[in-house]
């Protein structure tokens, strides 16, 4: 049972943090607002139990509020007010020949034609597989040795997936500034759609939609872009794609209507992780079921990336994600429609796995500080790299209601490759 005091504290915290951040940086479009509004809304939805998923205990809710507060306090402390609005105007970098200055990026973008051909090969393979498998089973098998990437795991992990995501981020930022031709962005979008169809997953498309909105708002706030009606029309395409894919996947398992499926799974997807974290807290005991991993889970993606190389030196090396997946990988019944929930346990799972309650406090604070540093850097120097990092961190901060994506290598690869590929900054500070 959730006491009324929880709602009072929740509303008070969100209002206070949003207003303080606004006062501090002079804009409502900042990481603190995104984080608080998103987290606050879904904490509220989770507490009123809309689709019958078991409600987490009040102690767990206090932990969520602790993380929310630590993130916001860390973020607000370092927020700066760099008003570069007057120096900018929409399309002011349009004539800057970015690609001729940056040959490596140009080569990388042309390489995406090869990515497209590889994806077409897997797409054809996936269509063949789908004639004998239902979408649910296909999706379940997709990353296993029996899935569509059978025998091509290294290609998937070290080229295909990073290439698709990195190109999307770079071309998105480039199109925002008007310094990268739209054809590169269209190719990146086609690739990400193909990739989504191959894996039958929505996350890549959701990422495009969210990152476009987040990036647009930051650019709009810095007076670097103007709102045009056609942007809204373009945005509808991926949303329709996600809806169609969701219905295609779930309609096999359920006789419900399309709207029911969307409503149920949207709420499930974004509120069940709170219950899942509560489940973890009450079923897994420290030093019995697991030991604190200190920093390893927080930086799990680096381990995941380096694992094949480390194994050459230490054959018995076991990355921390494997033991975490043993706990969160199993399908669990969380009540209501969430009868086979797995994997998404909020970012608090990773923080708690690292250092318990102290981990939640410290890592949330560090995350808040990092987001603010990216935000300040962008406002001081709106370079391609800075906007990519800002969009990525903001996206991951709102998606942290589901899980800590830095557990996976793709996030670190985006940061690393974006740095290498866009190191030629637009602005150089005197």
């Amino acid at each position: 049972m959730i006491p009324d005091s929880f709602y009072y504290v929740l509303i008070l915290l969100i209002f206070s943090f949003v207003i303080l951040a606004w006062i501090k940086c002079g804009s409502l479009i900042n990481p603190v607002s995104y984080f608080n509004i998103w987290w606050g809304s879904f904490l509220f939805i989770s507490s009123i139990n809309l689709v019958g998923i078991r409600t987490p205990r009040i102690e767990t809710y206090w932990m969520f509020l602790l993380a929310l507060s630590a993130y916001s306090i860390g973020s607000i402390t370092l927020l700066e007010n760099h008003n570069t609005k007057k120096m900018m105007s929409p399309g002011c970098f349009k004539h800057y020949d970015y690609l001729s200055e940056n040959k490596i990026l140009k080569i990388f973008l042309y390489l995406q034609i090869i990515t497209f051909i590889i994806l077409l090969f897997f797409f054809k393979k996936s269509l063949n597989m789908l004639t004998s498998l239902d979408p649910g089973t296909y999706r379940y098998l997709v990353y296993t040795d029996e899935g569509v990437f059978q025998g091509h795991k290294i290609l998937l992990n070290y080229y295909l997936r990073p290439a698709v995501f990195i190109t999307t981020f770079i071309t998105l930022a480039g199109v925002f500034y008007g310094i990268i031709k739209k054809r590169f962005f269209i190719l990146a979008v086609v690739n990400i759609f193909l990739y989504s169809m191959v894996i039958l997953g929505r996350s890549a498309i959701i990422l495009i939609v969210f990152c476009s909105i987040i990036g647009f708002l930051y650019m709009y706030d810095t007076n670097l872009i103007k709102l045009k009606k056609r942007y809204l029309v373009i945005l509808i395409i991926p949303i329709i794609f996600v809806i169609t894919l969701s219905i295609f996947r779930k309609s096999y398992a359920s006789a419900k209507s399309a709207t029911d499926i969307l409503y149920d799974y949207f709420i499930w997807y974004l509120t069940a992780p709170f219950t899942a974290f509560d489940f973890f807290l009450h079923n897994f005991k420290t030093s019995v079921d697991y030991d604190f991993s200190i920093c390893r889970s927080f930086f799990g993606g680096i381990e995941e990336f380096l694992e094949p190389f480390i194994r050459k030196v230490y054959p018995n090396f076991n990355q921390i994600n494997n033991s975490s997946h043993e706990m969160i990988g199993q399908f669990r019944d969380l009540g209501g429609i969430a009868t086979h929930h797995n994997s998404h346990y909020t970012m608090l799972f990773t923080f708690y796995r690292d250092a318990g309650l102290y981990g939640i406090l410290i890592y949330s604070y560090i995350f808040g500080v990092s987001s603010t540093v990216a935000y300040n850097s962008f406002r001081k120097n709106p370079s391609v790299f800075n906007i990519i990092i800002l969009i990525l961190l903001t996206y991951l901060s709102i998606m942290s209601t589901t899980r800590w994506e830095f557990m996976y290598s793709w996030t670190w690869l985006i940061i690393l490759c974006s740095f290498i590929l866009t190191r030629k900054l637009i602005f150089k500070r005197n």
Binding site: M1, I23, T77, N283, D333, N381, F427, K428
Partner: protein, 287 residues
């Protein structure tokens, strides 16, 4: 190609924050002290809470232990709560007001469990007061009794949190005993309907073959009745008087609160220049 250059003044950096902290050191230390001392006082003043826990292992779902025909099929949940109908049955009972009402009636006058505010009921007639008391008591029981299913091991953890640890221990023992009896009784009541039905048919039947079949069925029902009455769950972890309180965890509360206090203190110091600016702006506007 001319290089775009923008000169931006750094009006804030980490050194500014440290300098501001040094300037406002008294405020900085005061905020931390308020949080630190406040947390110590709080942990000393607040009533301790003790938790008694027990783990039960429900009987495996089989024909002998469940009346529910819909046993779990290849991992699909049919009850919407647990895969296991026996666990489901226990959980439904634990959540039911009818079951909790037994404890309200039994412990109505026990101050360790229910502390009714007499003034609250003074202006109400006896039946309204009784209804309100029942409502409050069930709400209180829902708060102090906690249960959680471990779907990996098919066990249920039941815990009771109270201010008196000895009473909590006695209460949980009684709770488990009552739970077992209650579920067994419910199961038997349900099967007795079937039993009466078959007895009635046997009486009216003249065909010896049908009679033989019905008697066999009756025997089966009798056997099941016996099993259902004795096979509900077994206690894996017995309740024990707790040695340590669960609330307040003094060390953790003090460390965490002081740490949070220091973070808030940093934030407050970083806000001072902005708030001063706003204050001066408002002052100028007014003058």
């Amino acid at each position: 190609m001319p290089e775009n250059k923008i000169t931006l003044a750094d009006d804030f950096n980490i050194f500014n924050l440290i300098r501001n902290v040094w300037i406002n050191k008294i405020l900085f230390i005061s905020i931390i002290s308020v949080f630190g001392i406040g947390s110590i006082v709080y942990t000393l003043v607040v009533d301790p809470v003790w938790e008694v826990t027990s783990i039960i292992k429900p009987a495996d779902p089989s024909e002998e232990t469940t009346l529910n025909e819909a046993s779990p099929i290849i991992g699909l949940s049919l009850g919407g709560y647990s895969h296991d109908p026996v666990i489901n049955n226990i959980l439904i009972t634990l959540k039911s007001d009818t079951f909790l009402e037994i404890f309200y009636n039994r412990y109505k006058n026990e101050v360790n469990l229910f502390e009714f505010d007499k003034e609250k009921f003074s202006d109400k007639d006896s039946s309204s007061a009784e209804e309100l008391k029942r409502y409050e008591a069930i709400e209180r029981l829902n708060k102090i009794i906690d249960f959680h299913v471990n779907t990996d091991h098919n066990t249920i953890t039941i815990s009771v949190r109270l201010k008196d640890k000895y009473f909590a221990y006695d209460f949980l023992n009684d709770f488990l005993k009552t739970l077992k009896e209650y579920i067994a009784e419910q199961n038997i009541q349900e099967i007795e309907h079937d039993f009466n039905f078959y007895t009635e048919i046997t009486k009216n039947s003249n065909d010896p073959i049908i009679n033989q079949m019905l008697e066999k069925k009756l025997m089966e029902k009798m056997e099941k009745k016996f099993k259902l009455s004795s096979n509900v769950f077994r206690i894996v972890q017995k309740p024990a008087v707790p040695a340590k309180r669960v609330f307040p965890k003094r060390t953790m509360i003090v460390i965490l609160t002081t740490f949070i206090g220091s973070l808030i203190s940093f934030m407050t110091i970083s806000l001072i220049p902005v708030l001063n600016k706003i204050y001066n702006l408002l002052k100028d506007t007014n003058s």
